[in-house]
């Protein structure tokens, strides 16, 4: 029995569970979410704890560190035991308990629905999984769908029980419109004053440049986490001869005679594009992960956790 079921929150008990995305968020998927939630706890409780410790002292119950007393500090936090032993006035610091704001931004432009919408489907699953982990940690989770604007927005929510709200929201997303992350994320930051982790799930096929959108997040103190959804088949299109190419977002047309040489060049250009995304994120200390849709989503989620930076 899964965790959700033990809480009486299984899909069968929900009247609003989407029948459309039965397969997308089915029983198997939910079982995997339970597993991921458990694994994530173990990961945080283990080797990753030091990295996650906040530097901020606060009114929490968990001891964090000592520091030298300075005039004006609250006497209540002086550690008298240390004073007795070392005759130094040291202040006890406690971790401030703070709930994290997690924004999951799903690119729902037309290019994400290309070739049967496999990329969008993959993004939805990733979004659901990350949202579940966030909810399980009692973080504040919000999901936003964008194309060249903020298409839809799921208000901030908290608690595992809200996962079906997440499912419903994600299920209702349909790919459409042109990608413009810059404009869309400007709207997003304007709507969300509370800063936090902004997970961007996108193929980053932005004619205006993917950098704009990420920079908007960076400049507005969000902590961007870029999940670059990649369909490897797009790098090796099965084309031959004289064809008329049209862009599924912009509708731009172009006559091309595809030869082996042209395909080779295109494949190289595609690889270069994904590498340029990685390069951009690395140079700007933006967490980035390349999510090939050929990799099972749960494996990818674990990879995300291991990279760190997702949860405090």
């Amino acid at each position: 029995m899964g965790l959700l079921e033990s809480l009486g929150l299984s899909r069968g008990s929900s009247r609003v569970a989407s029948t459309k995305d039965d397969e997308l968020f089915g029983d198997d998927f939910q079982r995997k979410l339970d597993y991921l939630a458990l694994v994530s706890k173990r990961v945080f409780a283990g080797r990753m704890r030091a990295e996650r410790r906040t530097k901020k002292s606060g009114s929490g119950v968990e001891f964090a560190d000592h520091r030298d007393y300075q005039p004006g500090d609250d006497f209540r936090y002086l550690d008298w035991n240390v004073y007795q032993r070392f005759e130094r006035l040291l202040l006890r610091l406690y971790e401030e308990e703070e709930d994290l704001a997690i924004y999951i931004i799903v690119d729902a432009s037309a290019s994400m629905g290309f070739a049967g919408g496999e990329k969008l489907r993959y993004a939805k699953r990733l979004a659901a999984a990350l949202a579940y982990v966030g909810l399980a940690n009692l973080d504040r989770v919000s999901i936003v769908a964008t194309n060249d604007r903020v298409m839809e927005r799921m208000p901030t929510t908290r608690g595992k029980a809200r996962i079906f709200k997440v499912f419903r929201f994600l299920s209702s997303l349909e790919p459409s419109g042109v990608t413009n992350l810059g404009d869309a994320l400007k709207t997003f930051v304007a709507q969300n004053k509370r800063r936090g982790l902004a997970v961007l799930l996108s193929d980053l096929y932005d004619p205006e440049g993917f950098e704009k959108g990420i920079n908007v997040l960076r400049y507005n103190k969000f902590e961007p986490f870029v999940v670059h959804i990649v369909d490897p088949a797009e790098g090796k299109p099965k084309l031959q001869g004289d064809v008329l190419l049209y862009d599924c977002e912009t509708g731009d047309e172009r006559e091309v005679t595809v030869t082996a040489k042209v395909l080779e060049k295109f494949s190289a250009a595609h690889d270069e594009y994904t590498q340029s995304v990685a390069r951009f994120c690395a140079t700007r200390q933006v967490s980035h992960i390349e999510a090939s849709i050929e990799i099972p989503f749960d494996e990818l989620i674990l990879r995300v956790f291991r990279r760190g930076g997702f949860l405090r």
Binding site: F114, Y205, P237, D242, V243, D247, R254, F266
Partner: protein, 644 residues
């Protein structure tokens, strides 16, 4: 005026075809330009890739137009080829050529390697390959007959296949017949020409109809051969002695047609065994007859062969070998009905191949005369002064016949008749001298309409030959004992001649036939076909006409003729095989020095001209080649993405 004319489809039709096909090509081309539409997720990536190509987009468009133009040019070439265009000069004046390839015996000469005939065929092959587009040619083999080797054609493949069938024969060429064939073939055709490929030894171009007239037909002569050293057997004959058929004599003649003396060995073999070997020296141009009397040993075949001293050979081996067959000997059964005649008995004893039975007239009546059937088993019955009441059902000699049983009427008695008139060509009196035979008395014979009077005195016929009911007879109108005929050599000769005549064992037997003639070989029975075994061993069916198998022999050697049984006949009715020999024996063919010129009808044959190998005047071939090359070019450029 256009430099060419269309021998195929007319121009208007070609234009229509080009119009329709061209429209189709353009339509297909436009269809080809309608590209398949393919969606992509992110066009900027493609723009990056195609940035270089964009720089040459104008050139790309030009290339596409070029591709269409290339296809239209291809179409134009193919349509134009359909019109079969030919140069004006050629289409009006295509030549019609009959090539006479000499396949006579002299063309077997090996003075040019490998043989004159092979060289002649090479020459003709070169002519075929040098034919113009509008030229047409007919090949004919010229030997004892003229054999066309195919129809008048401009198809080089067909002509070359015909040429391959040319084979040498052991005959002389019938030049007049070949020329008449050629002139008849060329009558009414444009630019007629006869090309003779030969060594020039063709004889006069005349036959029984007179000299051949060429008219306005051009005559060209291609000389083949260069050597002239040859010694050949130009005569070869053998015969048995009439009175001793176990012995025979041979006559042959050797001729040195070259211009240097030659030492040769002449070998004579009988039934495969050597009979004689002689070394001879023949001066240049000498004809040397040789006579071999009184030979014995061989019973059937005789061959003469010459070889050169020192193992060398002359230029024409075909005439170094001659063949002959001795006449067949068979035992004749003779019944003599006499009361006793020593001269008759003595004469019949001379031929050991006679199986003689003697009977008195009374015995004949008792044993053989019943219905005449009793005498049927004999080849000949001789009635010496005893004439039967009914004639026997076989051949018969009547000596002094009397009474109603005589085949001819016996009239008044003649006093001292003589052979004043003799039919010397008749076989029964061959080699005899009867003019001074003395006869005391005799009787005048009255021949019937079909009978032949062989000898007659001034008073009337005394020697008559003829046939009754299919059986031959000879009647002598006097008793030989009343004459001095019995004391002369003519008596046994007369008897044996008569017996031979009865049995068709003719002393005029030919020991060999001559190649190139139509042979008529007697065939027993009323068959319509006979089977002839050639010297090469090949069996061929020959027709039988009026009791004789008819065949045009072209090769020297021994032949065997067997009667083909009719369907349903018993095998034994096939009859015995008849063998005979054939020889070239022709001085004209043995003279192999090639002639530099050829004159026919007072016209000197000119050299061959107008045949240029490798130049076909059929433009459509070049159009097709051009189309093929363009297609190859288009294919290569397409696959290398030059034109796309």
């Amino acid at each position: 005026m256009l430099p060419f004319a269309l021998a195929g489809l007319p121009l208007a039709q070609l234009a229509a075809i080009f119009g329709v096909a061209g429209t189709a090509v353009v339509a297909l081309y436009i269809l080809k330009l309608r590209r398949r539409t393919v969606a992509i997720p992110f066009s900027p990536l493609w723009q990056k890739v195609l940035k270089d190509k964009e720089a040459t987009s104008l050139f790309s468009k030009l290339k596409r137009v070029l591709s269409l133009l290339l296809q239209l040019v291809l179409l134009a070439l193919l349509v134009f080829a359909l019109g079969d265009p030919r140069a004006q000069a050629v289409i009006v004046k295509g030549r019609n050529v009959v090539v006479l390839v000499d396949a006579s015996a002299s063309m077997q000469a090996t003075d040019v390697a490998p043989s004159r005939l092979a060289v002649a065929k090479d020459e003709v092959k070169a002519m075929i390959r040098g034919l113009g587009g509008a030229d047409r040619m007919l090949l004919a083999q010229m030997d004892a007959v003229v054999t066309p080797l195919g129809p008048m054609s401009g198809d080089t493949g067909e002509l070359e296949r015909g040429l391959d069938t040319v084979a040498a024969t052991d005959t002389r060429a019938d030049f007049a017949r070949a020329l008449r064939f050629a002139t008849d073939t060329l009558r009414g055709l444009e630019r007629p020409e006869i090309v003779v490929v030969s060594d020039g030894h063709l004889g006069e171009a005349a036959d029984s109809f007179g000299a051949v007239h060429l008219g306005d037909v051009k005559l060209s002569y291609v000389k083949v051969g260069k050597g002239k050293n040859n010694v050949g057997i130009t005569q070869f004959s053998v015969r048995r002695y009439p009175l001793d058929k176990s012995r025979y004599e041979v006559m042959l003649e050797l001729t040195n047609t070259g211009d240097v003396d030659a030492d040769v060995e002449l070998e004579l073999t009988g039934d495969g065994q050597p009979v004689d070997l002689t070394k001879l020296r023949l001066r240049a141009g000498e004809r040397l007859p040789r006579f071999y009397p009184n030979l014995s040993g061989a019973s059937r075949t005789l061959e003469a062969k010459i070889s050169f001293a020192g193992g060398g050979h002359d230029d024409l081996p075909a005439d170094d070998h001659a063949y002959a067959l001795l006449p067949e000997r068979h035992r004749a059964k003779v019944l003599v009905v006499t009361t006793g005649n020593m001269y008759l008995d003595a004469a019949l004893l001379l031929d050991e191949y006679l199986d003689v039975t003697e009977a008195t007239p009374a015995e004949y009546v008792a044993k053989y005369a019943t219905g005449g059937d009793g005498a049927k088993k004999f080849d000949t019955v001789i009635f010496d002064g005893a004439t039967p009441a009914t004639p026997p059902r076989t051949n018969a000699i009547y000596l002094d016949p009397r009474g109603p049983g005589s085949p001819v009427k016996v009239l008044a008695e003649l006093k001292q008749p003589g052979f004043d008139k003799i039919d010397r060509k008749h076989p029964v009196v061959r080699f005899t001298a009867l003019d001074d035979v003395n006869i005391a008395r005799g009787h005048k014979l009255e021949p019937e309409k079909e009978d032949k009077v062989v000898g007659a005195s001034e008073q009337g016929p005394i020697l008559v030959a003829g046939s009754r009911d299919g059986h031959k007879f000879v009647a002598l109108g006097f008793d030989i004992k009343d004459s001095d005929l019995t004391l002369r050599v003519a008596w046994p000769l007369f008897l044996l001649n008569t017996i031979n005549w009865f049995s068709d064992d003719d002393a005029s037997y030919l020991s060999s036939f001559r190649t190139g003639d139509v042979w008529r070989i007697p065939v027993a029975g009323d068959r319509e076909e006979a089977s002839l075994k050639l010297p090469s061993g090949v069996l061929t069916e020959v027709p039988v006409h009026e009791g004789r198998a008819v065949y045009l022999g072209q090769h020297a050697g021994f032949y065997e003729l067997a009667v083909t049984p009719k369907r349903g006949d018993a095998p034994e009715l096939a009859g015995p095989a008849t063998a005979f020999a054939a020889n070239l024996l022709d001085v004209e063919e043995s003279t192999i020095a090639p002639l530099d010129t050829l004159t026919v009808d007072g016209k000197l044959a000119g050299p061959l001209e107008g045949f240029h190998v490798g130049v076909r005047r059929e433009i459509w071939i070049y159009l097709l080649i051009a189309a093929a090359l363009l297609t190859a070019l288009e294919w290569a450029t397409y696959h290398r993405r030059v034109t796309v």
